[in-house]
């Protein structure tokens, strides 16, 4: 088990910044730019870890706990999630509740750390983060219900398996809807366009970026690394469902990686094709997603 934990973490630590790099590259290409190197985030992280910090005089330990928890939580939830053919090292019936509440733990500390600076920007971001979570979490749980009902299992390991049902069966339709919902949730949870823009700072329509304005140096590196890992885990959840079924572990891993990269490219495409939504539209889209996930549920209730 120790070995599988290390293997899991190795994949996570190694690949997470690359995925973020692919998205940035796709956006740049479509925008007609050369774009940053694929491995830019690795260099950024290395540089930030060596930098010194500027810490606000207003803050306390909570300000520094935010990035730490925001880094540790993705590491912990990754252990509950199967990485394609590589099963999750820790798995038990009901671990989906732990998955959701570990995410809530990260949110709690990020929000407290943001409020700890006493800045109105960060307070605004914190309020938005906590409020929009109310709309995101129900969708996550409905998707979990749908998948649990299909798989007859309450562990992420058993739920996130390749889709076997045909697309014209109720199960297939439900899974398709669930995947669409998961994709939207991935964009919302990871603060991508159209919910939030990870590239601009100090805009009044920002959510996540504005919460981390005052972090610098190694703390900022923890935040960026944590965000990249969270993005990767969200993408992995979708890729787990979409990957082709093969018995060959090597072929399975390769096809899983390809699906993952395609997902990253799709995020890049969405970000290039869409503008950020107005803030008051965000709740409408999120409620719409919840309704969509309910349709998926109703397909399975007969």
């Amino acid at each position: 088990m120790i070995f599988s934990i290390f293997f899991h973490l190795l994949i996570l630590f190694g690949l997470a910044p690359l995925l973020a790099g692919i998205i940035a590259r796709v956006k740049a290409k479509i925008g007609g730019r050369q774009g940053q190197p694929l491995l830019q985030l690795y260099w950024d992280l290395g540089k930030l870890f060596r930098k010194r910090m500027v810490i606000s005089t207003t803050t306390t330990w909570v300000f520094r706990a935010g990035p730490l928890v925001g880094f540790v939580v993705p590491v912990m939830i990754s252990l509950l999630v199967p990485f394609g053919p590589v099963a999750a090292p820790i798995s038990f019936s009901g671990d989906l509740v732990l998955f959701a509440y570990l995410l809530a733990l990260a949110r709690f500390f990020t929000v407290l750390a943001a409020l700890d600076t006493g800045s109105s920007f960060e307070g605004m971001g914190a309020a938005r983060e906590a409020t929009f979570a109310i709309l995101i979490e129900p969708t996550i749980f409905v998707v979990f219900i749908v998948l649990a009902r299909l798989a007859g299992d309450f562990s992420l390991n058993g739920m996130f398996v390749p889709v076997k049902a045909g697309f014209n069966t109720p199960a297939g339709i439900a899974t398709t809807l669930a995947i669409i919902c998961l994709f939207i949730v991935m964009l919302a949870e990871n603060c991508r366009i159209p919910f939030d823009d990870p590239n601009t700072h100090l805009e009044l329509t920002m959510i996540h970026e504005v919460m981390v304005l005052d972090h610098s140096g190694p703390d900022l590196a923890l935040i960026l690394y944590g965000a990249a890992m969270k993005l990767m885990i969200s993408a992995i959840l979708i890729a787990d469902l979409l990957r082709p079924v093969t018995a060959d572990p090597l072929l399975g891993s390769l096809s899983f990686l390809v699906v993952l990269i395609i997902l990253a490219i799709m995020v890049g495409l969405v970000e290039s094709a869409m503008a950020r939504l107005r803030l008051i539209r965000i709740p409408q889209l999120l409620v719409g997603t919840t309704l969509l996930s309910f349709f998926a549920l109703i397909m399975l209730l007969r």
Partner: protein
Amino acid sequence: MLNLSPQILYQGAITILLIGAILPLTIELTHRHSTSLANGLGAGAALLGSGLGLAGALLLLFGQSSVAWQMSWASAGVNLCLRFDPLAAFFLAPVFLLTGSGALFATGILASSKQPGKSGRHWLYYNLLAVSMALVVVAADSLLFLFAWEGMSLFSFFMVIYDQDEESTRRVGWIYLVATHLSAAFLFLLFFLIYRQTGSTEFSSFATLKALPTSTAVLFFCLALIGFGSKAGLFPMHSWLPEAHAAAPSHVLALMGGVMLKLPVYAFLRFLICLPVLPAWCGLLVTGLGLAGALICIALAALQGDLKRSLAYSSGENVGLIFFGLGLWLYCREGRFDVPATLFLVGALLHVWNHAFFKSLLFFGAGAIIHATGARELSRMGGLLRRMPRTGLLLIIGGGAIAALPPLNGLISEWLLYLGLFQAGQTSIGGQAFIFMLLLVLLVIVGTLVLLAMSRILGIALSGEPRSFEAREAHEVGPAMFIAMAVSAGLCLTVGIAPGLVFPLILGPLALLSPELATGAPEILATLPFGAGWSWTCLLVLLFLAVYVWFYYRLPPGDSRRRNTWIGGLLPSPRMSYTAGGYGQLAQENLLCSCLRPPIISVRTPVFFPGHWQWRCRNIDPIMALILMPLFSQFSSMAGSWRRLQGGQMNIYLAYFFLTTILLLGWAFSS
């Protein structure tokens, strides 16, 4: 060797608490300057008595036995029955625990009180409140139960109006008194009907109620739900709760919110044991009321500007969750879903303890903040984590626990509810499955709203710059208050990290409540992931974080510098930081339906340049404003027309006497 049976420990506890109630007042009345002696005696008796009682309750809970005894009081013509079984012990343990830690906390508050001469009264009411709560739990007789119930209501009323010099407190006292007696009226009716049915006041003879026809059983059930539910703060009878729970001193609120709200739940359960099988909709009714209360209360908790009011609404939410679990247990018990029914019942019972732990912690913490700053409004706090680091840390633990964050205790009970809903949804089909799924989603929304409400309280009160002079001058609390908070926080952590320790204690009450589930329950609980692996993982992660913090945060790399928060190049000021109102505004405007929004009065002078702008948000419970107030004013105007009967003139009253006598004479002769 002295044989310490639970019964002797319990009787000892009651005796010591009674002494602790009388003695301080006597001393303070006879010696004017002996406030500290009175304090010491009152607190000492409360601590000793609650220690004994707690030991007795735990002894019984571990031993899984039950004791019943009678106290004949021939001169009064009553025969008092008391019973001490695992279910009673399960509810007694938090009663005594919080009585003790509340007394410890009170010493810190009273020592620096500016009103001498109130200590004696405080300990009289406080210890008598504890005694009557302990009696409510072990009473096995309608008369004794109602007697103790009245005592509990009255002494808590006296504690609510403890700061009676303030006009608002007296008004709140009235609301509380009316609410609690309305609930008592239903209970009197209920016990009267039961007496007519069984011909006995003893609970042991209530077993004959099992033979009741369904319609009568449902009537009894509804009466009990209204009577006990309104005392527990179940929706829609929760309106008194935020009022009363904002007025009393904080350590009393820990007792009232932490355990007093659970005693109606206990009595309701005790009563349910006696009833025959109820129709399925009864369970769904309890579930629905519980969930609606949880949703509405927590949504309102996220809007309150007053720290105590916000916590009081959160109590309403937790009571709602307990009823939610119990209702689902009732529903599933009839539908023969054994696994979910067990999970719901264990989850609801565990939540009773959990809420006692974290709500007491939060109320103690709120009391410490109010003690330190003298302010109750969130908008006058801020920056307190720097000034009160220990209190702040414990408050964050409490907030995390109530938001069900790992590795704290709130997660465990909510986990059981979630898992029960998942299981029930999985094994049912069609509309029934949809109901479970809908309930699950609504429970998720409650959970996220708790996170919003708690991050708001903690973030606004503890973080940022102080928003008032008092907050700037705040100081850390003394050791007694700190220990009281630390006990609760320690229990939150213990239950969260080692839930396996608590599960065996729940099996006793579970066997009493639902004998058909008792055999399967240990097996079901063993399949949960809360064994040694859970504990070790939690401890390892906590240890890792501690080591990391020790090595890394003590010695930041390079020379980190301290600068002002960057606010667009301006100098930061507390007036720029986010406010409690602003934090909840987005949720209030986008997510809350308009009838729940607090009425907002906004006055703006229409001039070209920004001028005077007034914005005020009225603090009134929507149920109170929309339903109860119109209802009561209608009632009072109707009653007003009858008031003419009481003219106040002697000759009219004489005429009444005369008329009554004539009527009675006529009735006597005709029959």
